[in-house]
């Protein structure tokens, strides 16, 4: 089992004829991802990697049975593209581009909740179910099928964590990139709960960072979970009041400092880790 997507997922690519769309379609196919087609308004009828492009998501869904979509489009088109996918019946949408306007994401989120769809991103590296689906831009080399789930704001942290799990023989069920933008399609608690409901996932590594609001939301869920949660938060040593990289990683006064987040999660029952190498050690202690 896996969460969000597996080898049966029929994936479509919105923006399949663009530079990034083409490049990553090819890579995802190489991994074995079942890509069935894509969209590019005005370019219906063309083919990319032998997969058909359509003008609209509805056409693509009708002709190919696509049930998952990944978006490679400029930020300003993401709101419409995501809502188009949701309204065409797609239940899982991955938003790779970064810098999506915040108000746009609020619209997207409302549509997604109403339709019972899951959106992740913006600014996500995607979702990887090793051995089955690479849905996004993650580098294959870090991953191997296994028994630990991961969810992280940052792409590179996902790779480091997976690399550590792979190297130490734990492997991963599914790795989810929540995204680095300030307002995200999904939150830690929602993804954690999906892992809780997945039989194969024996533990979850959650990696947050300084700033933002989504780590705090996870505490109630962690309290309710039977599956152990390991938590890492980036930015413990960051000076307050400085803006660091990710649009989301801004400390506003006392709000969202890394140490506070880590303390809150630990109090809720998560096992804190400082470096990636602490992860296998903690898993060992937990008997995972």
């Amino acid at each position: 089992m896996a969460i969000l997507c597996d080898k049966n997922s029929k994936v479509m690519v919105q923006g399949i004829t663009g530079g990034a769309g083409k490049f990553h379609t090819e890579r995802m196919l190489e991994y074995g991802t079942r890509i069935v087609g894509g969209t590019s308004p005005g370019k219906g009828g063309q083919f990319v990697c032998e997969k058909p492009a359509f003008d609209t998501v509805a056409e693509c869904v009708e002709q190919t049975g696509a049930d998952v979509s990944i978006i490679f489009l400029p930020a300003r088109f993401v709101k419409e593209a995501t809502i188009e996918a949701i309204r065409a019946g797609i239940k899982f949408v991955v938003v790779v581009p970064e810098h999506i306007p915040i108000h746009d994401m609020l619209h997207v989120r409302e549509d997604a909740v109403k339709a019972g769809a899951t959106v992740i991103g913006g600014n996500t590296a995607g979702v990887m179910t090793p051995g089955e689906v690479n849905l996004g831009i993650m580098p294959d080399i870090a991953f191997a099928p296994g028994r630990v789930g991961t969810v992280s704001r940052s792409g590179s942290i996902t790779y480091y964590v997976a690399d550590t799990l792979t190297r130490t023989g734990y492997g991963e069920t599914t790795c989810v990139g929540l995204g680095g933008d300030p307002v995200l399609g999904s939150t830690f608690d929602e993804i954690l709960w999906k892992f809780e409901e997945d039989d194969k996932t024996k533990a979850v590594v959650m990696c947050g960072e300084i700033g933002g609001v989504y780590e705090e939301r996870a505490t109630d869920t962690i309290t309710k979970m039977k599956t152990p949660v390991l938590a890492m938060i980036g930015g413990i040593t960051a000076p307050p009041g400085k803006r660091m990289g990710h649009a989301g990683a801004i400390v506003e006064g006392k709000m969202g400092t890394a140490q506070e987040k880590l303390d809150m999660l630990t109090e809720a029952g998560a096992h804190p880790c400082r470096t990636f190498l602490d992860i296998p050690e903690t898993l060992k202690k937990l008997g995972v």
Binding site: I102, G180, G253, L277
Partner: protein, 400 residues
Amino acid sequence: MRLYEFEGKGLFKKFRIPVAESYLARTPDEVYEAVGRMSTRVVLKSQVLIGGRGKAGGIKFAGGANEARTVARELFKLKIRGYKVDSILLEPMLEIKQEYYLGVTLDRANYKLVVIASGEGGVDIEETAEKHPEKIVRKSFSIHEDLYTFDALDIAKKIGIPQELIKDGAAIVQGLYKMFKAYDAKLVEINPLVLTGDNKLLAADARVSLDDDALFRHPDLKEMDIEMRHEEGEMTPREKQATEWGIPYLDLGGDIGMFPGGAGFGIMGNDFISYFGGKVANFMDSGGGPSPERIAKMLVLLDENPNVAAIFGARFGGISRCDDFAKGVIMFLKDHGLSKPMVMRMTGNMWQEGVRLFEEEKEKNPELFKNVEAHGIETPIEEISKRAVELAKARSGGAK
């Protein structure tokens, strides 16, 4: 993007939120001239992109043009929490009977817009919220919703706006909410909203922050001379240089130059260095899919920083390809040369190509790589972090 008070008030006018008549002055002489045209005592308000200017002495009063000019000379010399005063907003001094707080902001965790109001304005609203939550009125709205008159009236009543002004108060609440949506705001705040001696409601201050990522939708801001600005108060020369090159960069004072990939490990890598007993010189973020030129520039910033004793490189390529990363490093080694020891790890997408480029160049030109220790996926990043700390210690010789 934060706006200056005078810019925020310019937007307020568009939404019929009443503000005092005002003048903007950029020199003491302009202050003199403007105050000459005003018949009352005036308030001189330093325009800076940060709160707390009152406490920092950035707001002064004056009786006439001469006094105002003298006061302005002092204000223009002021630095408020690192921000220089470039302009002063002049307004007639108001007789104030009551101060309210009114703001619209985002509740990101719950995906809502929130109107916050209080009968006690003019103070730090977060403090009031913490100590006296009962004095705060909050109403949440979904992005699809309008704020109707009945809700606005309810808010105005709850914060104690006098009955005869209740419709004016409600109109201000609605105007502020409309403005928040119309301009893709993250925050719009009137603190204080004042009840004047002659029984009028006026927005006495304006704090507005807009979403940088949505500015493309608001070309009219440019027509109002509101353009992207750098919001940090004081930048070091290197931070300035990095900003010009479009690289997110902060000086942090230690001696290990951080040359990471994206922001994620850019942030966490700094923690690792601390855990292993080192101190980082900087934060940096390559951004997604950087070009070789950008990679080379990142290294220039570190190599030319005299505080940097060693460089710690980490690239786990996702959307950023290792071949581009390797090209950038080679470009830097050839064009600029590396004067400090560097330990780095490169893996992820296209790593084979990255390694091949390194080997090829090394064979032709081994001298270029004399300060480089390059590793791949076989070495955990923790080992690389420790090595960077060692290298920096060896070079700084414990002199620090």
